[in-house]
């Protein structure tokens, strides 16, 4: 019998909390997967620019993590996800998306090939039930390790320099989507060159019991006055992930498992993730449905939109022309400080499989409590809004 859940602590603290809580200057917290995490520590602007111009740390411990082992591990993963991962090499990471039987997206995430230790799947939402369901007929073991692995995301142009100073010698050779193992201050720690920011950055994985040691090793670089390091919260992350073109299941679209109303689910094609669907591989869940869908004109797409002007299109309806036919809605939007533009993720209907010739947003905004509305033209961006060369340059520039 495990100790009972403590009702006095509805949200749990991550292993980094004792270090991060004192750094919070505004005490603005949010729940994330049962943990208390910061929305902001300081100001949004400062945190945003830490990612884009220096070095940020983000506590990503609450991210759902699963360990898959056994003789059929890769066959099992390949049957679950839409992408062909059969050639994933040890020490490599890949982005994947997976669907239910009807070809509707359940979640997205990343698979880490940990060599003899099997595979780690990171996911946005609770997936253990789906993993177990998918495991029928496979010789695999699946364990949820969300709470057994602490993770810190270190992102920004100086992130490599910071980590090198912190004792991660040789990190500069790590290529995007690669994994390296280190011993820092006597602690075994794994680093992957991955992230949710679209910038140069790393994710650092460790045993929660030694999380503080590693955190201190990294933060010491700041204490020593070499580079600035800023903790960032969920709000800044939201800005940089939209700039980088990452989608967030549950926020940008309703996942198939949680959808209540019919027609709310989305296929990978409808999410613009067709590139992550391969029919040149063995059977995977949803394949029959997706093959059928691929033969038909696409009905709707989740798109990246840049919106002219400076009025933020919160919750705006979208039309195929000024005062035209309503074709969709904005799901999330931010003002990009680096691009000086409003960016959004929007869900848009396609007539006869065609992208609308024009997209206009009707924006309601207020200045000193007076409400006005204007029309703003929107442009679809097929590429990430922001993807600097330093994101993938190896070795990264030293500072």
């Amino acid at each position: 019998m495990k100790p009972n859940a403590d009702y006095r602590e509805i949200l749990q603290h991550t292993p980094f909390h004792e270090k991060l809580a004192p750094l919070s200057q505004v005490q603005s917290w949010s729940p994330w997967n049962g943990y208390q995490v910061a929305r902001t520590y300081d100001t949004l602007a400062a945190e945003y620019f830490a990612v884009r111009s220096s070095c940020s740390v983000f506590d990503m411990t609450p991210m759902e993590k699963y360990r898959i082992k056994g003789p059929d591990a890769i066959a099992f993963l390949n049957r679950m996800v839409t992408r062909d991962v059969s050639n994933l090499k040890p020490g490599r990471v890949t982005y994947v998306v997976w669907c239910n039987d009807e070809g509707k997206t359940l979640d997205d995430g990343t698979i880490f090939h940990l060599g003899k230790d099997g595979y780690r799947l990171c996911a946005a939402h609770h997936q253990l039930d789906w993993l177990m369901t998918s495991s029928i007929g496979f010789d695999v073991s699946i364990e949820k390790e969300t709470h057994d692995v602490a993770a810190l995301s270190v992102q920004g142009p100086t992130s490599c320099s910071v980590l090198l100073e912190a004792g991660f010698a040789g990190l500069e050779e790590l290529k995007p989507f690669g994994i390296m193992n280190f011993t820092v201050q006597g602690v075994d720690v794994m680093v992957s060159r991955t992230g949710f920011t679209g910038d140069l950055g790393y994710e650092v994985w460790m045993d929660p019991d030694h999380a503080i040691t590693i955190f201190d090793a990294i933060y010491d670089v700041k204490e020593r006055g070499l580079y600035d390091i800023k903790p960032i919260g969920l709000d800044a992350l939201e800005m940089v992930r939209i700039e980088a073109g990452f989608i967030l299941p549950g926020d940008d679209f309703v996942t198939a498992e949680t959808a209540v109303r019919n027609g709310r689910e989305r296929s990978p094609f409808e999410l613009g993730l067709g590139w992550a669907v391969s029919f040149d591989k063995p059977y995977f869940t949803g394949r029959r449905a997706l093959e059928k869908e691929a033969d038909e004109p696409i009905k709707r797409r989740l798109v990246k939109l840049a919106i002219e002007g400076n009025k933020t299109p919160h919750d705006s309806f979208l039309y195929d022309g000024k005062n035209g036919k309503r074709i969709g809605t904005i799901k999330v939007t931010i003002w990009s400080p680096i691009l000086k533009q409003n960016l959004a993720v929007a869900d848009i209907e396609y007539q006869n499989g065609k992208e609308p010739a024009e997209i206009w947003a009707e924006i309601y905004y207020q200045k000193e409590l007076e409400w006005k509305s204007i029309w703003a033209k929107c442009e679809i961006s097929e590429k990430p809004f922001w993807s600097p060369p330093r994101r993938s340059k190896t070795p990264p520039d030293r500072f």
Binding site: N4, A259, V260
Partner: protein, 537 residues
Amino acid sequence: MKNYDAIVIGAGHNGLTNAAFLAKAGLDVLVLEKNDYIGGATVSRELQEGWKYSNCSYVCSLFRPEIYQALDLGRHGLEVVPLQGGVTFKQDGDYYGNYHQSALKYREIARHSKRDADAAVRFDADLMKWCRLIRGFLLRTPPDPTSFKIRDAMEFASLLKAFYELSESQIYEFIRFFTMSIAEYLEEYFESEVIKAHFSGGSIIGTGLGVYSPGTAYVLLHHAMGDVDGNVGSWGFARGGMGSVSGAIASSFKSHGGEIRSGAEVEQINVSGRKATGVTLANGEVINAKAVVSNLDAKRTFLKIMDKKDLPDELVTRAENFKIRGSSGKLNIALDGMPDFPALGENSPLTLGHMHFSDTLERLERAYDDWKDDRWSADPYVDIVIPTQYEPTMAPPGKHMMSVFVQYCPVEAEGGWTEEKKQAFGQTVINQIADYSPNFKDLLVHAEIRTPKEIEAEVGLTEGNIFQGELTLDQLMFNRPFPGYAQYRGPVKNMYMCSSSNHPGGGVMGAPGANAAREILMDFGKTDTTPEDFGDD
């Protein structure tokens, strides 16, 4: 002598709801109640000085917010305070705490099974799908599938349309949900025994079915589709006890000019020339009305207060065969203080919600087996609430009122109920509670023990069935109460039915009362005062 527009027989919440909507439309309405107090099964009674018991229905969730709003019940004194969470105690000293905070609930399920915690996401979403579908039909009159009338055809079409908004696989999944047993349904989601036991309780409350009986998955909806202020699945206490619900509806009814006579038992519905003309009271008084509405269950309505010669033979058979199957008992307990539940530790919020002691499906099913053989369950399923922890009006300060709903209890204990058997039944329940609360017996001030027999005698629910008729496929929608009579109109002209024996069935919902009012007003050519469903899209 005064000739009313309508007489409503029985001042339960559906009778009062029905009367209020009729009065609101300008009809001259009289409600007749056999007891000296109103409310039927929605009452608060002081049976021990200083304590108020919601001695029949005890929590509120299904009551349609549309009716609440349309009858302005808030201003007529109704307050529904949400109740928080629940707990199922395990025999090994552990428990499952159904916390209402999602993060805590997730962690607590995961404590019993990590997989189940994740599966709960799928379960909640699926249940919500079926809730939405059914909720849309609560405030509607069921169509007759054999009829060729335009209204029936259109209503049937709208039913099919709602159904067809589901994807193909969801259609099949819905049919499966509708026809499966709760145990087997839950087994498709969960592996932990206590989780399954906890979530299956709502499926047997009030029914003569076990957790392994096909059809019980659907009954879960009758305990899961209600909401308090949009929190679907939550329950609430009516401040002042359930009598506040009927009290507020009665007040609303009176504000529209309605008249209530209590202590006025109806002996018979008078019929002349195949038309209802009024009623005769037990004291011989005859009261005439243009319409007579019965809020009694289908058996009582047709077999007790109507003359067989006024009814088609087929209908008498149908009424005789109507499945009532009383299966529930109740203990209302006055306590000298708050009982300890050591398994929970001190100050646990879990006592604020529903408490249960059945931690396996097998125990639940065995409780049902006892009832099938006309015995009360030796190891019953109980649903306990102690509203006085935050409801100040029902017990003296520092004292508590405990409501214990008991499943199963037979209508006739083998050989018939006696006082000794009734006490033994009560003792079975008290002993079960005491197994988990060592100081419980010391705190007992008074206990009212109610078997189906007492509930029937006092409230007039045949066999004490809380739904006024089983919620099985043969008695739902257009089959409720009988095929061909599901549109609230009786077998003679000007006679109507508004009780929970009619669609959509029991629970303190008010929907049968409102739906019947809509049909009556239509026949009277009056403006419809009943509300439409708020909708959920």
